[in-house]
Amino acid sequence: MTIDTQRNGLVVQNLYAGYGKRDVIFDVNINVLPGEIVGVVGHNGAGKSTLLKSIFRSMPIARGNINFGQLDLTKKTSPYVVAQGISFTPAELPIFRDLTVQENLELGAFSIKKRATYWERLHEVTEIFPVLGERLKETAGRFSGGQQRQLSIGMALMTNPKLMMLDEPSLGISPSVVQKTFQVIRDLAKERDSSVLIVEQNVKAMTQIADRIYVLRNGEVVLEETREEALSRDDWWDLF
């Protein structure tokens, strides 16, 4: 398949990455179009988080190319990636627990230099998640799992990203909160025409939100399906 990097948002080609000399993902090819929500599912250790960290350039890659629009991210660092409008929310401890909600949101906006823009974004985020606005001065570690997850997404939104990358956003929160959180993510992506790349083990939740899904097994992409195709499947387990 020829990929038009001018039109496409994120394009990952022939990516190999891992820890030390041991590769964990092999020859991965994925893309995320502007405004599209793409999910990556797979079992524990399939290489999902490694894929996100590699794209975010917070870990070294062995081979391959990563492009975002016209930008080549392959040899860049995380601060550069953030500055180009890509956010990354890790699976575990996605907030600064010892700091207040406002301090967390300030750090979320770290790459923004204009103070006026920060206040504008703070206002937007607290409108989307009113609980954050009501409890700005509270220590974030006191929040429930769901509220912490909302805060982590709020932090990502502080940069008004063109691409949000979320690593297991359903981790540690109840199914009803997962549903609500995913709905917020979907609405935001569609409203702002921004892309989302989500890594999940929760396949059911993923099919509710993603336009397209990749299945990663033992570090390789073994399947790419649209949401409709995924929903028509009787059983997902044989893919893992």
């Binding site: 660092t77 995380s78 890790p90 301090e103 750090l107």
Partner: protein, 301 residues
């Protein structure tokens, strides 16, 4: 109870504790942010003292310029350790044990380097007077009030240490660069996720920590002498203050240092003076048993 002795020892304890607090914040800034057990913080300490002594004698710099030159050398040597010692190891594997071994090696080798360059003798801080002769740079006057006495250097130790500690704490809390230190200290993964450049933060904390270590080195040189082995014992006190006061907090570290100084000094009421190092280590041991997070630290993940 001898109240005159108690008052005098309390003052001595505040002086010592302020100095411990300065050393603790110097070591703590680097350790809490990078997790590197930066024993080589002894090098900027010594570089501060030797920088001042050398520039005053060889470059004929007046006292305050020589002190500034000493501080510059402290920061330069602190950053040289980071760039030539730690960064290459971080690029290879970044294991904390490897970084500690690098630090240990530098700490052992540096006094030998000082001996090769400056000789084995102790060197006092001297400047050239108006007659063109080298003379003692600093008149360490003694102030007395009733039964209490305190020297000029002791007064300066208290004032300078706390002014610098407060300045560092305010910097960390209130500025954008300071917030990047807090972010990296409390959650390195998230710090990267929000776009903080880890390398830049390391450079910042090593520069700040080395500057504070350099100030401590200047105090010791001005009060006593510069010597090849001047730094290690004080550096060890610095990291005791960090673990005693609380690993996760600069304010906790500073107050930990103060309490440690007071304990060390006041122990002389009941024990011979040469027992005070034992009191310091025993206090740390007790704190680690009953409050592993440190006296003012929070028990958190």
């Amino acid at each position: 109870m001898n109240f005159e002795l108690l008052a005098q020892l309390t003052i001595a304890g505040i002086v010592l504790g302020s100095f411990y607090a300065l050393l603790g914040v110097s070591f703590g800034l680097v350790y809490q942010t990078s997790k590197i057990f930066h024993l080589a913080n002894a090098i900027p300490f010594a570089a501060g003292g030797y920088g001042a002594v050398w520039s005053a004698e060889v470059l004929h710099l007046p006292l305050f310029v020589a002190l500034a030159f000493g501080l510059l050398m402290a920061v330069v040597f602190g950053l040289l350790i980071l760039f030539l010692g730690y960064f290459p190891v971080m690029r290879r594997n970044g294991a904390l044990l490897s970084l500690f071994l690098v630090s240990l090696g530098i700490t052992v080798a540096f006094p030998n380097l000082l001996q090769i360059v400056f000789g084995t003798e102790n060197i006092p801080l001297r400047t050239y007077n108006s007659e063109g002769e080298l003379s003692s740079a600093f008149d360490n006057r003694v102030f007395s009030s009733g039964f209490l006495t305190i020297t000029l250097i002791d007064v300066l130790k208290i004032i300078v240490s706390w002014v610098l500690i407060i300045a560092v704490v305010v910097f960390v809390k209130r500025t954008r660069s300071g917030r990047s230190i807090t972010a990296l200290r409390t959650n390195p993964t998230m710090a990267t996720a929000v776009g903080i450049d880890r390398k830049r933060v390391y450079i910042l904390v090593f520069a700040l920590g080395s500057f504070l270590a350099g100030v401590a080195g200047l105090f010791v040189t001005a009060e006593f002498v510069a010597s090849p082995v001047m730094a290690l014992q004080w550096t060890i006190v610095g990291f005791i203050a960090v673990f005693f006061g609380g690993i996760g907090s600069l304010v906790g570290t500073a107050f930990g240092g103060l309490v440690l100084g007071l304990l060390s000094s006041l122990s002389s009421l009941y024990l011979p003076v040469n027992y005070s190092p034992i009191v310091v280590f025993a206090s740390l041991f007790i704190i680690l048993l009953i409050r592993p997070q440190g006296l003012f630290g929070k028990a958190s993940v």
